[in-house]
């Protein structure tokens, strides 16, 4: 049974809007809501939590319509992007806050909290104040605090954004591990597509307050329904071409064969940079000159000038190519997607 349902939802927070949104968040899975800043993803999260009241529409959690329920009654764990740790309370008091509100037995409180602190590895810092902690530690306190209530739903507002890259990468697997261990339904908001790809089971892509595509991570990546999704997830090349057959289009003087069916007179062919191969024999080969080469560690990334348009290629195979080289690029037909337009991108 789907755990969170959003029906015809519209909400506003400052200048950010969410419009006529319909979404289902599956029970027990790790869902990432991905989108650029201002796309409404944090607003969405706050509406689920009850921090913001929607202008229109309903929020249903576990079959119960909670739209008019205040946040304290919804029983959902929330993690704030800037942690929002109570500065006048110790780590222990922060984490135990939700439990103490219910006036439970002191010893039971202590035990539960210690377990939680142990889970995030901060038991030694239980009596410290937030201003004595590093960014990574604050993040873990905020997480423990959100989990302490033992709700089955966890909402994370950009939980890794404020951390430096190394810590961010390490904590990704920790987050997923905790979610799996506790059997949680997680909604994780982020603008970082690489982070999303690593942690998500389901992905929801948002833009300008609307859901552009939602589904299993693999499906959204390999079968984007909108050029924006192809643009925002990973790196994609968009080639404007003239359709000349059901499976053929002309680009830069060459005929490109596609597996997908083409319609109309004009199409935008899209292919991900990691799918293009260097110097491989076969159909769809384009000639170009390397204008930029970047070493990315496990990959090399090249910008190739093909008849005036820059095509980016990523390859893990070791290659000696450098700036100025003439190269031949092969576009496998099975990896070519087709759209009507290029994505609208802000400069």
């Amino acid at each position: 049974m789907p755990q969170i349902n959003l029906v015809d939802l519209s909400a506003v927070e400052g200048v950010v809007e969410v419009k006529d949104l319909n979404l289902t968040i599956e029970d027990g899975l790790y869902t990432v809501v991905l989108g650029p800043s201002g796309s409404g993803k944090t607003t969405l999260l706050k509406v689920i939590a009850g921090i913001i009241s929607p202008v229109k529409g309903r929020v249903i959690i576990n079959g119960v319509d909670v739209t008019d329920m205040p946040p304290e009654k919804r029983g959902v764990g929330f993690f704030f992007q800037n942690y929002a740790l109570f500065p006048h309370m110790t780590v222990r008091d922060n984490v135990s806050y939700s439990i103490r509100l219910q006036k439970t037995d002191e010893d039971l409180v202590r035990q539960t909290v210690d377990e939680m602190l142990d889970l995030v590895g901060l038991l030694d810092w239980a009596d410290a104040f937030p201003n004595q902690l590093s960014g990574g530690m604050k993040q873990r306190v905020a997480l423990a605090r959100a989990l302490a209530r033992q709700s089955k739903i966890l909402l994370l507002d950009e939980p890794l954004t404020a951390l430096d890259a190394l810590l961010n990468a390490r904590l990704r697997s920790e987050l997923v591990g905790i979610a799996k261990k506790l059997g949680l339904t997680v909604v994780h908001v982020t603008p970082d597509q690489e982070e999303a790809m690593e942690v998500a089971e389901n992905i929801v892509v948002m833009k300008y307050g609307r859901v552009v595509q939602a589904g299993k991570e693999f499906d959204v990546y390999t079968k984007p329904c909108d050029p924006f999704v192809a643009y925002f997830l990973g790196e994609t090349n968009f080639l404007e071409a003239e359709v000349c057959g059901e499976h053929a289009a002309r680009f830069n003087g060459k005929t490109i064969e596609t597996e997908v069916r083409l319609e109309g007179s004009h199409a935008v062919l899209a292919i991900r940079s990691e799918k293009i191969e260097f110097d491989k024999r076969g159909v769809n080969t384009l000639q170009g000159r390397v204008v930029n080469a970047n070493f990315l560690g496990s990959l090399d990334r090249f910008e190739v000038d093909v008849g005036g348009q820059i095509v980016t290629v990523k390859t893990a195979k070791h290659t000696h190519r450098k700036i100025g080289d003439l190269v031949s690029l092969q576009l496998p037909p099975k990896d070519i997607l087709a759209f009507k337009d290029k994505p609208e991108v802000e400069m």
Binding site: P36, A165, Y221, L233, N294, G297
Partner: protein
């Protein structure tokens, strides 16, 4: 003569030594990245180069001449901050002109220089706007134009991409790289993101806890890290603690690994990058393993593989469509194996900060 040189640079704040005897050189026209986790001292080093922080000890030389006493306004540098705060009370155009304005450059000359730079960053039409109307990426580009307007040959960047959306950050990263090459600038770029550092630089300097751990061209440092920490920090690595069993052989958890050369000690730490391990190739050196988890990352897929007690992450762009529970064979090619002696304490190397 190097454009910039630091000699035994030290900075102490009360009880903390943020920078602990840092030595490096930067050549004319070089793009150098200083990279490390937060708190490693990289920003402090940059700020000392700019004159925004006074060194506790040590020297800084520009073109062979010591600058340690010079105020920031006299060092003729361009500086970009992480929080791209343009002067909110001035328009975009006035922001870009500021450096020339404070040097009392003639009005006519100022106008043409600022237009030239705004054209370079493709924001000429925003000249009359106030910063508050621009997005983060646009503001940072204005900041770049502003820093370059004074004609300084040295550009210092303090995590300029960290506050930006990923796509804007990547775009700006390449723009800075191209502009600086075109203008022949010397650039020092501080970042906590190792991919940024690897992609743009001629030279990379890796720091940790106030010290320089390794420096060199990105490819060299990536392929030949001098310590497990560097192998872990740049890209990613699997680590195996193994015992030497032969001339060029070591064993861990019942599996034999061929080493690229004679090992430095009886016990070694082996490291191999996830993208270098080879799955399912028919080679006698391959050993049996089981797929424990599959994580699709888009441009590649990461498999969690277990062989006896060893847990390894393997990445491959080939979507072999392996499933959890599948049996596979795995090979770690010696030429891609990094070997470290037991002088390193693995848990210390991998601990944060």
């Amino acid at each position: 003569m190097p454009k910039i040189q630091t000699i035994n640079l030290v900075k102490r704040f009360e009880k903390v030594t943020a920078v602990n005897r840092v030595n490096f050189t930067v050549g004319d026209g070089e793009y150098v990245s200083i990279v490390g986790p937060s708190g490693c001292g990289k920003s402090t080093v940059l700020r000392m180069l700019a004159g925004l922080e006074k060194p506790t000890q040590g020297e800084i030389l520009f073109d062979g001449k010591p600058v340690t006493g010079l105020l920031p306004e006299d060092r003729n540098i361009g500086f970009l901050f992480q929080s791209y705060e343009l002067f909110p009370h001035l328009t975009v155009g006035e922001n870009v002109e500021y450096g020339l304005f404070v040097r009392a450059v003639k009005k006519a000359d100022i106008g043409s220089k600022s237009s030239e730079l705004l054209k370079l960053v493709k924001l000429l039409q925003f000249s009359g706007y106030y910063p508050i109307h621009l997005s983060g990426g646009m503001q940072q580009r204005v900041a770049l134009a502003r820093a370059l307007a004074t004609g300084s040959r040295l550009l210092l960047l303090d995590e300029p991409l960290s506050a930006l959306d990923e796509k804007a950050a990547v775009m700006l990263r390449y723009e800075i790289q191209k502009s600086s090459k075109r203008l022949g600038l010397t650039v020092i770029h501080v970042s906590h993101n190792q991919e940024t550092a690897l992609s743009s630089s001629d030279k990379i300097i890796v720091m940790r806890s106030g010290k320089v751990v390794q420096s060199g061209p990105p490819r060299d440092v990536y392929l030949n890290p001098s310590s497990p920490y560097v192998a872990y920090f740049l890209g990613d690595s699997n680590f195996i603690e193994a015992t030497v069993t032969g001339q060029a052989e070591a064993e861990a958890s019942g599996i034999r690994f061929r080493l690229p050369e004679k090992p430095p000690s009886r016990n070694v730490i082996l490291a191999i990058r996830p993208e270098k391990a080879v799955l399912n190739d028919k080679n006698p050196a391959s050993f049996n393993a089981v797929v424990m988890d599959v994580n699709f990352l888009g441009y590649t897929t990461e498999y969690a593989i277990q062989a006896n007690e060893l847990k390894l992450r393997v990445r491959t762009a080939k979507h072999d469509y392996l499933k959890k529970g599948d049996g596979v064979t795995l090979r770690l090619p010696p030429k891609d194996m990094m070997v470290f002696s037991d002088e390193f304490d693995l848990s210390r190397e991998l601990s944060p900060g």
